[in-house]
């Protein structure tokens, strides 16, 4: 067993860290204040990422990616997690699910996405279908040789910048012993398709500038060529390709926690009260001790889950544990950071209050903490027949 990073991994980490510090940090306050990313800045980040060969680094070399392993990619995400998501979005990592593209879809969607020419967004959640994905009401019915889509999706991240969308839609229903069960199909939908509108979404407390949008389908007509994977095979593509995205959330949480921790640590070492630095008070130093222990634990849990994927080992439970623990750790660590800073921690002169707000969504998206616990519990008890 070897817990050290290779020279390549060290260099990947230091390059991405330096990139985030120099190209992302200086713009964060403005994005936070205005709630938007200036298009020139978005293009600039994208251009630099492409030049560095990091754009779509999660894709295999056959399609023009760098072919990073899950572990290497987790390290990239961890460093990106230090920066504003609204901005690191343009350090493009298209959805892996695009690997399910076939035939002409590769030229129209997969390859341009990897080259940074077209940006994608994933649309699953609906107002009445959150954790219960199968409860979706957005449907596609057959009409002649086409599909006609109706319904609404919301909380669609990155939709404001997306050129096309991977949309999950109900395409029928099966009767099962547990009651009716919807069949789901994934579609590729171009922005501007008649009957399809992207509307501004809600104003979130987390990740300002990383917009969430509402998608509306009103008799939107799609040919068969837009089906990603098989008809009624939406769950298969989802399970094959979206499996690993929870590692991303865990890894980003670890990176952000480290940045918040460093602020708190330096504050504790410099801020003087009652004639000494506050770090000399155990009430403060013990909070820092607990925080760094939790961050390290979440870090290793995340890297180990990614490593299992690389080894081809079952990792569903481990990924769920990493996502659950890292996101809950982030909430505790950012809260601790504010406590160490005191009142100043709540002011937007420092980024801590932002990390604290941003942390909140991590326990919700990509499977809530409750869903992760459900997965962990199921993986433990199913083999025992429970």
């Amino acid at each position: 067993m070897n817990f050290g990073l290779t020279d390549e991994q060290e260099m990947i980490v230091s390059t991405v860290r330096a990139f985030v510090e120099r190209e992302i940090y200086p713009h964060e306050a403005e994005v936070e204040r205005t709630g938007r990313v200036p298009p020139e800045l978005a293009q600039e980040i994208k251009r630099k990422t492409l030049e560095l060969g990091f754009y779509a680094c999660n894709f295999p070399p056959e399609v023009g990616g760098a072919g990073l392993s899950h572990l290497d990619f987790a390290l990239v995400e961890r460093e990106l997690g230090r920066g504003s998501m609204a901005l690191t979005h343009f350090f493009g990592r298209p959805q892996n699910i695009l690997m399910a593209c076939e035939g002409a879809q590769r030229e129209r969607y997969l390859l341009p996405a990897v080259r940074g020419e077209r940006m994608d967004a994933l649309a699953m959640t609906e107002p009445d279908a959150g954790s219960d994905v199968r409860g979706m009401k957005c449907t596609a019915r057959r009409d002649g040789g086409d599909w006609v889509v109706n319904g609404t999706k919301h909380f669609i991240s990155g939709a404001d910048h997306a050129d096309f969308f991977i949309v999950f839609v109900a395409t029928g229903e099966d009767d099962t012993p547990h009651g009716p069960k919807k069949r789901i199909t994934a579609f590729l939908v171009d922005r501007g398709t008649p009957g399809f509108t992207v509307r501004e979404g809600y104003r979130s407390v987390s990740h300002r500038g990383y917009a969430n949008c509402i998608l509306e389908f009103d008799d939107c007509r799609l040919p068969d060529a837009q089906v990603l994977g098989a008809v009624d095979g939406g769950f298969e593509v989802m399970n094959t390709w979206l499996y690993a995205t929870r590692i991303t959330v865990a890894a980003m949480s670890v990176g952000r926690a480290r940045r918040a921790f460093d602020l708190a640590l330096h504050h504790a070492a410099e801020r003087r009260q009652f004639g000494q630095t506050i770090g000399r008070f155990q009430g403060v130093s013990f909070q820092l001790a607990d925080a760094v222990t939790e961050i390290d634990a979440a870090d290793w849990l995340t890297l180990a889950a990614a490593w299992r994927l690389d080894q081809g080992l079952p990792a569903n439970r481990e990924i769920a544990s990493a996502k659950l623990y890292a996101t809950e750790m982030l909430a505790r660590v950012t809260d601790m950071g504010i406590q160490v800073f005191g009142g100043m921690g709540l002011m937007d002169d420092f980024p801590l209050e932002r990390f604290w707000r941003d942390a909140r969504v991590e326990r919700i998206w990509d499977g809530t903490s409750e869903i992760q616990r459900h997965i962990i519990g199921r993986e433990l008890l199913r083999p025992l027949g429970s």
Binding site: D7, E8, E10, M11, I12, S14, T15, A18, F19, E51, L52, G53, F54, C57, A66
Partner: protein, 252 residues
């Protein structure tokens, strides 16, 4: 033409330096180490010269502990073609003095026959600012220190130097030794494809003994101390008050 770029592994510029309890030096155990920033500028300049077609090969060399291999890998990931590691110490706290480094570099140059040496003007750990100049003396080569701009024109180089009070442009005969100043260029990030390629690039490992150079220290560090903490300032309400305070302090 071949360029030789010496790179030093030093304490990272972001690390808050701590003096060891016994005052013998700076504590380097378990701290982040990186390539000396001035050397990074030298690597960048060498790669730019290669991209401009003025140079065929960039060779990075590092002298110190075995871990300096990481520093060389960084140089390779930035775009250097190959690297030479000369292991001359086994304790991270043992600094190799400029004269020993210059002597070792002179030996490497004898073997490699580069047309140009690009080095950082100084290392940020001990700020000696001596290796380039000593190397020039040992080889009898011309030198252009503190470069702000470098142009290679056939058998000579035109170098703009940062000197006290401004800039000075000199024309030196090749082969030459140029040391880099802060504003010469902005070093690139290592690109992902180059990071992946770095491991496959050759890295020769040698020892100081291979070159017959004695690296034993000639200098003795008597004491290392933290800089004195600044005394608290005093707010003044008016220019008159400021002037009288300055007079009181005997500085005007």
């Amino acid at each position: 033409m071949k360029v030789l770029v010496p790179v030093k592994r030093v304490i990272d510029y972001n690390v808050k330096v701590r003096v060891k309890a016994d005052g013998s030096g700076v504590d380097l155990a378990n701290v982040k180490m990186s390539m000396n920033p001035f050397d990074e500028i030298a690597v960048e300049e060498a790669i730019r010269l290669k991209e401009a077609g003025k140079v065929e090969e960039v060779v990075a060399v590092s002298i110190g502990v075995k871990q300096a291999q990481e520093t060389l890998r960084t140089a390779l990931a930035m775009g250097a073609d190959r690297a030479i590691l000369i292991v001359a110490a086994d304790d991270v706290h043992q600094d190799i003095e400029p004269l020993a480094v210059a002597k070792l570099l002179a030996k490497v140059i004898e073997e490699e026959e580069p047309g140009l040496v690009l080095c950082g003007k100084q290392a940020i750990d001990n700020d000696m600012n001596a290796t380039g100049q000593m190397l020039s003396a040992l080889l009898g080569w011309s030198q252009a220190m503190y470069a702000n701009k470098v142009e290679i024109e056939g058998d000579h180089a035109v170098v703009t130097r940062e000197v006290d009070g401004g800039l000075q442009t000199v024309k030196v005969k090749m082969p030459t030794i140029i040391s880099t100043d802060l504003r010469l260029n902005e070093p690139r990030y290592a690109s992902l494809p180059n990071i992946m390629k770095a491991k496959k690039k050759p890295l020769d490992e040698k020892t100081a003994a291979d070159y017959g150079v004695d690296v034993a220290p000639r200098l003795e560090v008597v004491k290392t101390a933290e800089p004195p903490t600044r005394k608290a300032g005093e707010m003044v309400g008016s220019v008159d008050e400021l002037v009288s305070k300055l007079k009181e302090a005997g500085v005007v």
